[in-house]
């Protein structure tokens, strides 16, 4: 009885819809706007024409202009990175002095006075503790600078202008203009960027945005880029220019990431994800003076500490794994040495080495621990005495000492450049992979989004290595 009635209602609605025709939606919208206009007319009065709207419009004219829009964008990116790189040095050195040079020996001392078994002591203190300490010392300072700066730009209202500037490029590549927003979020954290793709209505364009978000260098990868660029690229020129050149190299990689984002978006939209570019309205919000201290406080509490906590949660077990593979022996070689040895040939083809590839496998849970893993494994392979023993993750006090170890491990400028490229082009971290699955609910697309960047990384580093060796 009830079902009949509902069917009747539905068929009635279908009939009525036919009778009214196409104009229904438009005339409804017009009706709503007419009501809105009447109401506003009765209650809103404008005192005079001058006001903040004009100032906003004037700022917009400059930062969204064809001439100044892009240079300003890169300038702002450069300033933010510069402040992050330069500003993070001092607190990083302090933290590593405290956590690695003071607390670590103290813990070791306590463990030996308690008579702790060597393997438990090694596993917990040299594995888990050191991994966590490294992540805090290296990641906390740049994040505590980068995130608040980024949040200030966000609160000021700059992000939608970036989207406005990049809209044309995204459209050309068959993607949604709002992808500029999710891309910007990805510069902080890819998982956050992928959740943010919900603002894109069209499933096709949303998938493109999800798959290509990994090309935004995330927070876990900035420190790797900065460190390697400082050691190898900065060293090419006299000391007074080395800061500028390293900065340029890092920005170059970030921009290259954006180029790949456009290329892959374009490729996807021309092949498996064909379709029309959807139009949308982008509201350019008014500029709002950020509430400075409040923004600093909340971005440190909400973003920095949450991301740091995640890194620690993943770094602790990874530290344990590194220690284990270095101390479990197959015959007379450790698992780590065996892995490195078997991957060395493939690594050479890519202009990398076995150590780097093993480090990237171990570091799937968190990109942040790639560099310490590489250092630790390099020491293991070269038999240098700089570290504190097999499988002990450590950070060297000075950038020069880190460079010496890497060079002893056979690193050249090519290795460094290809590491920077591979850091940009490899699989997303496990959190991001899980987020992709949650957002797409598709194993297929999760696999595509995870594998595609690695394959690209292999191809790009291979090509660079071959051309480099041909020319050199």
């Amino acid at each position: 009885m009830k079902n009949n009635k509902i069917d009747h209602i539905i068929s009635l609605s279908n009939d009525l819809r036919w009778q009214m025709g196409d104009e229904f939606h438009d005339s409804l919208a017009e009706g709503i706007y007419a009501d809105a206009a009447e109401i506003v007319k009765a209650s809103v009065h404008k005192k005079d024409e001058k006001g903040a709207f004009r100032i906003d419009a004037r700022i917009d004219k400059i930062i969204t202009s064809k001439v100044w829009g892009f240079p300003l964008m890169f300038l702002i990116l450069a300033v933010v990175l510069w402040l992050t790189i330069v500003g993070a040095n001092y607190p990083s050195a302090m933290l590593s002095g405290l956590l690695l040079d003071t607390i670590h020996p103290a813990l070791k001392g306590m463990a030996s006075s308690l008579g702790m078994a060597w393997w438990l002591d090694g596993f917990l203190i040299d594995g888990v503790y050191l991994a966590v300490a490294w992540v805090i010392a290296v990641m906390l300072p740049p994040m505590a600078i980068f995130f608040p700066l980024f949040t200030l730009l966000e609160d000021f209202g700059y992000l939608p202008r970036v989207a406005f500037n990049l809209d044309h490029l995204f459209k050309l590549s068959g993607a949604h203009g709002k992808q500029a927003l999710t891309m910007s979020m990805g510069f902080g954290c890819n998982a956050a960027g992928i959740v943010a793709t919900r603002i894109i209505d069209s499933p096709r364009e949303r998938l493109i945005a999800i798959i290509t978000n990994n090309f935004s260098l995330c927070n876990g990868r900035w420190p790797t880029q900065i460190l390697i660029a400082t050691i190898f690229v900065g060293a090419l020129v006299p000391a007074s220019f080395s800061g500028m050149l390293s900065l340029a190299a890092v920005i170059g990689i970030a921009v290259l990431g954006m180029v790949f984002m456009f290329l892959v978006s374009w490729g996807l939209s021309k092949t498996v994800l064909k379709g029309e570019v959807s139009t949308f309205n982008l509201e350019l919000p008014p500029y709002r003076p950020p509430r400075f201290w409040k923004t600093i406080y909340t971005s440190i509490i909400d973003r920095t500490l949450i991301v740091l906590w995640r890194a620690i949660v993943f770094a602790a077990p990874a530290g344990a794994v590194i220690w284990l593979i270095s101390n479990i022996y197959l015959g007379d070689v450790s698992v780590a040495a065996w892995l490195i040895d078997s991957l060395d040939g493939f690594g050479f083809l890519l202009g990398l080495n076995g150590v780097i590839l093993v480090a990237y496998i171990v570091a799937i849970p968190a990109n942040e621990i790639v560099i310490p893993t590489i250092l630790m494994l390099t020491v293991l392979v070269t038999g240098l005495t700089a570290g504190s023993g097999a499988g002990v993750m450590f950070e060297l006090d000075s950038v020069t000492a880190t460079g010496d170890i890497l060079r002893a491990g056979g690193w050249t400028l090519l290795t460094a450049i290809n590491l920077m490229l591979f850091s940009l082009l490899h699989n997303p971290c496990s959190t991001t992979i899980y987020t992709i699955y949650k957002e797409t609910k598709s194993v297929k697309w999760t696999v595509v989004a995870s594998i595609l960047p690695v394959i690209m990384g292999f191809v790009v580093t291979f090509l660079v290595a071959q051309i480099w060796r041909l020319l050199a």
Partner: protein
């Protein structure tokens, strides 16, 4: 002209600091559910934070909140659960981030819906307000970003606005915690039935649509007599919204 009332005035009856307790994420055993709806980038999350004491991340770009966040506050011994919905320009569209907001306002049965609008862009914001008022009987207009409206030399006659819309209007500047005590007081009065709304219903709809709506909603009411927003369901049916057709079949909104 001073449009907003002074919120820090302790002698004011509306300033009831002792009665207010921000409960953060503790949303157990609430008495009322309050939904926070509005266009993108009108400061919903800021209003949410000011009321619950939480620090839901805020940002100056449309589309920042994509999932709904929940928090709570206690006022005069009654607990209110507050749901921060993603911003939406309209209830008539079909995008995924906006669906969360649409479904909650329609089927989540909030006791009170707070509609947050940008005071300096009122006309455009009213599009959504008028749509929400078609659905619910208990709503309050939170006229946010009053500081910006003042900077833009706009004067808003909140009494006329409240009269025209048929719901209470509270001017706020949530970033500076202004107007929040008044908003909480109004929410409490609405939830307890001390304020009764007579929400504005659309007037400028063409006659043929109006008749079709009337016809359909009468039929819907016969099947589901308790449903408060049959007119809206009728509207969606005329649009051919598949979700609504499904819900109508399963009857899940009752």
């Amino acid at each position: 002209m001073e449009v907003k009332p002074k919120s820090a005035c302790e002698s004011c009856a509306q300033f009831n600091a002792d009665g207010l307790k921000k409960l953060g994420v503790n949303t157990n055993d609430f008495d009322f559910v309050v939904a926070l709806a509005g266009n993108p980038n009108t400061g919903k999350s800021t209003v949410f934070n000011a009321m619950t004491g939480l620090r839901q991340h805020t940002g100056n770009w449309p589309g920042k909140t994509v999932t709904r966040a929940e928090g709570a506050f206690e006022y005069n011994k009654e607990k209110f659960k507050l749901v921060d919905l993603p911003g939406t320009y309209s209830l008539l569209s079909t995008s995924e981030d906006e669906e969360v907001a649409r479904n909650f306002i329609l089927f989540g049965k909030p006791s009170v819906t707070v509609i947050v609008v940008d005071a300096s862009r009122l006309e455009r914001n009213l599009n959504l307000v008028l749509q929400i008022l078609e659905i619910t009987n208990n709503a309050v207009l939170c006229l946010n970003l009053m500081d910006e409206a003042e900077r833009n030399n706009l004067e808003i006659d909140t009494r006329t606005l409240a009269k025209d819309l048929g719901i209470p209007v509270v001017p706020t500047s949530a970033r500076y915690n202004k107007g929040i005590p008044e908003l909480i007081q109004t929410i409490s009065e609405l939830a307890n039935g001390k304020i009764v709304c007579k929400p504005h219903r659309l007037k400028n709809i063409p006659k043929n649509i109006e008749q079709a709506l009337e016809k359909l909603s009468t039929e819907i009411k016969q099947v589901y007599p308790d449903i408060p927003n049959s007119r809206w369901i009728a509207l969606r049916l005329l649009e051919g919204d598949r979700n609504i057709i499904e819900t109508l079949k399963t009857g899940e909104f009752v």
